[in-house]
């Protein structure tokens, strides 16, 4: 039997992604510093992915900020086979054609896993220069689809669905496997509102990427961006990828968080081992540095608890957006709540019990008999309010005593019902004792 991609990630990946803080600018020292922080502070709680986001191959990345995010028509770091390489100025250990290998080794030495962001396709630079494609007699212009570009990034052309196109993706994945990559976040490949009428235009490239992973001999987790994915395509995602984004880019904005409740309602039946609808990164702590907008997250602490409560009871991957070396203890406390994190288990059964303009209620149970019931209460209003749930809505009896995850207090149901007074945009998560 060939590799079963569902075995590559038996629980939702938990890690750190460079984007929310660094935009395109992160360098090797910064990655190492964050990796070290994770290994020493968060690894015991299950956090173990370090992911470098977009344009690690770009020379002078970020130098035209704030006007231009991605400098067009620029010369990237690239090998002779049209494969992008780490910018050596930012990633010194990549010198001599070693790519991300040395950095991967270091991250692995900390007990962590290493992920990178890639853009769908072959560099435009390669296509216009007619550079080679490894293992084929063709050049990059012959595998590039001149009409397939990303609407928001100028780096790549899509790859044609041909044997030579597959060979290019195979050559990429072989290089990534050689480097020791554990996780690929491929962008411009999933659905986006930017493609009107073409919600999943790039099925062929997703399948090529999936096949290249199957061949590469390394269990590389595949995460697809951007979003929102259409649930009409759920089966295709489930067959070909491990993560796919259910929303647009998520930032520290209450409206976006409210919207995420809709997406979670929609995708709740689609969480299973190896298959993770992805609510996107956690814009907590200090973010925005590379965007020339360094700030403490706009989310209140209560809103951040709401994010964590929803992501966990839903079963989303957790990718921290903060610069970890600047993290305060309160932010860290959001990430180390073992009771809450236990709900990520994809084998649990989850169900949105109720959602309206004022509140939302979720429940989660272990499938095996005797498993603990969890209930999450969300106050969606802009002021303090009580949120209740009763056995009549859960259709299961409430335990005699439940523990509220965030406060640690114990709560006893009254008349088959639990009520909590919650701050504006706040959440409570109760787990049976």
């Amino acid at each position: 039997m060939s590799a079963d991609k569902n075995q590559f990630a038996l629980t939702p990946p938990m890690g750190w992604n460079s984007y929310d803080y660094y935009d395109t600018t992160v360098n090797e020292a910064e990655v190492r510093a964050n990796a070290e922080y994770m290994a020493s502070h968060l690894l015991p709680y299950g956090w173990n992915y370090i992911v470098i986001d977009i344009e690690w191959y770009a020379v002078n990345a970020g130098s035209q900020r704030p006007e231009v995010q991605y400098i067009p028509f620029a010369k990237p770091a690239m090998d002779e086979y049209s494969r992008l390489q780490p910018d050596p100025a930012r990633f010194p250990s990549s010198a001599g054609g070693r790519g991300f290998g040395p950095l991967a080794d270091y991250i692995h030495s900390l007990g962590l896993k290493f992920g990178i962001h890639i853009m769908r396709g072959v560099p435009r630079y390669a296509a216009h220069l007619h550079t080679k494609v490894l293992g084929t007699g063709v050049t990059a212009d012959q595998i590039a689809d001149a009409s397939s570009i990303c609407p928001w990034n100028p780096d790549m052309y899509g790859v044609k669905n041909t044997p030579e196109g597959q060979a290019y993706y195979d050559s990429l994945l072989q290089m990534y496997a050689d480097w020791g990559i554990d996780y690929i976040k491929c962008d411009d490949i999933a659905a986006s509102k930017l493609y009107p009428g073409y919600p999943l235009f790039s099925r062929a490239e997703i399948a090529m990427l999936h096949r290249a992973i199957e061949k590469c001999g390394r269990p590389i987790v595949l995460s697809l961006s951007p979003g929102p994915a259409s649930i009409e395509d759920a089966w295709f995602y489930e067959e070909n990828a491990n993560l796919w984004r259910v929303s647009d880019d998520f930032w520290d904005d209450w409206k976006a968080l409210l919207h995420m409740f809709e997406y979670c309602e929609l995708w709740q039946r689609h969480v299973s081992p190896g298959c993770y609808p992805d609510c996107d990164m956690l814009p907590f702590g200090i973010v925005g540095g590379g965007f020339k907008d360094e700030r403490h997250t706009h989310f209140t602490f209560e809103e951040q608890k709401t994010v964590m409560s929803l992501w966990c009871i839903f079963g989303s991957p957790l990718m921290l957006g903060a610069e970890m070396t600047k993290m305060d203890p309160q932010t860290e406390s959001l990430l180390t709540n073992r009771d809450l994190l236990s709900l990520l288990d994809p084998e649990r059964f989850r169900r949105q019990v109720r959602r309206n303009a004022d509140s939302a209620v979720w429940m989660s149970t272990a499938r095996q008999a005797g498993g603990r019931l969890a209930v999450a209460l969300f106050n969606l209003q802009d002021q303090e309010a009580e949120v209740s749930v009763s056995e009549d809505e859960l259709f299961v009896p409430l335990p005699a005593q439940m523990k509220e995850c965030w406060s640690g207090t114990h709560v006893c149901p009254v008349n088959g019902s639990i009520t909590r007074k919650l701050p504006a945009h706040g959440a409570a998560v109760l787990i049976g004792c």
Copy 2:
């Protein structure tokens, strides 16, 4: 705790529906004859619902066929509280205001359950006559929404989402519970391509109906029509109903059957106890009599096996459309295959393994360890063809020996793969021994 509607139907309902043969015209004797047939022939295999479809309240139903299916502006059988009653000419036992009570008693006496079709709303006749609403001080014109009609049937107005509107639905369900109804197929209430831009306009009426069932004291199964339901609304259906149609009306047409493979792909993760995406009725055997088009189904026998194979491995409800008293043994053999029917179990895990223009493959496993693997192979081509599946696609080992459900032959995998030569539009279902 209040009643949990998921307890009302722990497995997909299996039964008979009058529509495919009788259109609007079925009468009491015909219903009894079919019920008797089911009790003596099919009940041992799990078939136990007898459902009377549309316009049992219509006087002279079908008399303007073939031009007019539903006679507009006609006076229906109705009680003083604006509630439709069985047409006494067709259902003599309903005389004296007893409604479907006596017929329900008879059906129950055979060990069967009894279902009826209803249209969303209150009769237009009642609204224009200003007749009473039980338990309220208002009349039908005051609960009717004059702008809410069915696009294809002239009988009803939608009911306003008000306490008096709820009271009307409560009075309906109380009457149905008194009669002994076990199953309601409510029409013009789920999504339809006939409502452009309004895929699920009638959420309020679905919720009113659901609440009325919860109050009525009887575990009445709720089935929603027409379709296709939008999967965007899956959670709402799962909370409020037991069955909802995933397709347009299904008839004996290969194109429609091909299309059903898409719907099953879409809804495969949404089958669970009490929640059944519904592939619609089985137009087998002799159908079309009431439509002035009596015929043997246009489906070949192979196509009918394909229908049964797909419905069962997917986990759809099974509602037979044939006139049972005219059923031939071959058709009956389709309905009594215990191996196949065992796959309906909603606790099984099901997955479409592959689908393209030529073939489709599904698998199904019991969630508990040691459960038997089932694999269904479908030939979607118009000529005989081989269809294969390998362990590489299943990600589980194939058993040393499998039994093909339809032929009873035993099959052994070769090199981790099974191949079957299938007739045009044919299917094979293999179950581990």
Copy 3:
């Protein structure tokens, strides 16, 4: 040759409509009072239509305001042939089956023309009662289309496109011609945003109405509502009607007025004798009485001048919405500007010269050589601003001197350009001397 409907209205109709002030409630005395006012004050300027708007047949019209605008399932005034009649309580002269004949006679005696609003279709009341259709052997239920209703008014069913359906419309138009009706505003028959995906579903009924007018022997002007009409259907409107609404219902709201500039841009080439894209009624002076919201128009005086300037240079029909007997001299001055009204001439060539977020400029010229150039300048900003136009944009020379219609001042171009300082939302109209 048969009647050419374009001959029925060689210039855009100018008149008064009861809706903006009276909603459904207007009565005979009120109509007469307004007609008398028009005859004595406005007729010399070309205003000559008196139009009674919706539900003149409704008993107790307006009595459930403000909750309900149109009382559903009520018994209307109707003759034995399923034809609606004036409510005799409100229109006493209609007693004895004389309908609107006496009132028409009176309006004609003042030198005016008389119009009525009708709803597309046959009364629901008639269909459910099975009343007769004149000149046929059928009853109303047989011509009614049970699935064709108005989404916002409960009075009617659409009429089937059959010989009997045509006979019903013929019988209506014969009655209207007998009464002396000069103008019909038919509602629920043109496009509406309320019909998603069905921009002009009722072509057949428009054509039936058009044919009935051709047969009736009286030059009855046909105006279609609601809107916005799709310009894709322009030819069909031009062949079958005299007026069609280019917008939603227009009220005294600046956003709606801004939107009208878009509609006028769209339809500017479609004004010709007998064919009038219609910008809807002028909500000037005192409006809203029947809506339980009597008020002076929310439009400023400058905005009202902008309305008149745009409607006239575009060539729209002009239907006053004010209660005329309460009209102040300033409002009346808006309606009696002969220079401005001269621009209505459909033989003129009109062109939007420019439109952006800040300003709009229109021009209009007579087709014949030597005709006077007119230019309208509009300030779309919320504060005073200068608006200019130059010969470079007009492609014709500016006259040495132009007269500003509203102020009467004379203006001389400077360097081939004219600039006016305009108040917020204000307009200037310059005509060559």
Copy 4:
């Protein structure tokens, strides 16, 4: 006053375009041969434009046919200022940087006008090479919009709406004016079904091009492609261009011709001097050579007469697609019918009288009194049929005698009506004597 673009083409342009025969491959000798043919055979009838269509700058154009129409990532002929030049191998007279100047001189010497096709934007090649932009300090990468490409041609990037972007278009038009270009067909700039949800995304580039023409000092006619243009944008087209395509690419296919009747219905009020909704080229005679599909047009002779009849009575530009040097006399007779060509006059009033599945009827009258009436009858059926028109539909009297343009026969109305028996897909055009 600045130049009025409507003065540049007071009647619909008539000419020849290289595309239908040559695809991308036409060379100088072939252009000259066609120009000479036009001058000697068609110029007396008003045909006077010679237009070179797409990719005159492409080296090895057509060499990858039939697989590839436009070779991607190739090096085009280009000057130092990022401006495309004629391929010197195909256009020898362009050597030495003289561009199309010598060829234009020759065409002018024949009494003809000279047009070229261009693609919206700046060459991708220039953007990736960072070549100069005349009169600015920037390079091509700085004016190129990396996200703006043509979906079907790989040559260009869109130009940003900035002063430097305008400077690039100005530099193009100055070069074209220097060459002596009379007509530009700009492609990938008008609406297309290929841009879902973006019917006219490129307003800014159209306006830049229009301004560049105004500045260049030469009356260059501007034609926009592809189509179909949305009539919602009619005013914008009328202000900025002379021709815009109302349909997709038109080829020799009856379905496409049937569809053109819909487009002509839609746009009939929008023909005026300088403003021409464009029905696209005439695929007559010998076409397809450069496409490796040389053939006599698939249109029957009757269908070609229908094309000419519709294009002329509608008032469309006429651009011949045939290789003229291979033209047979019958094809030429289609182009030299003076009666028919006289109907092109944009000052005429035109009206579709009727259109249904079986037939269409158009009329056309001169605006001035006493002008001759023309009537076109079209048989849309697949077999011979009679088509009639009566004064009742025309609303004008028929002359005592009319001349049928194609046959030259004279026809007298009978009882105010004319009837012609027409072959399948055939047409008759009658003009008052």
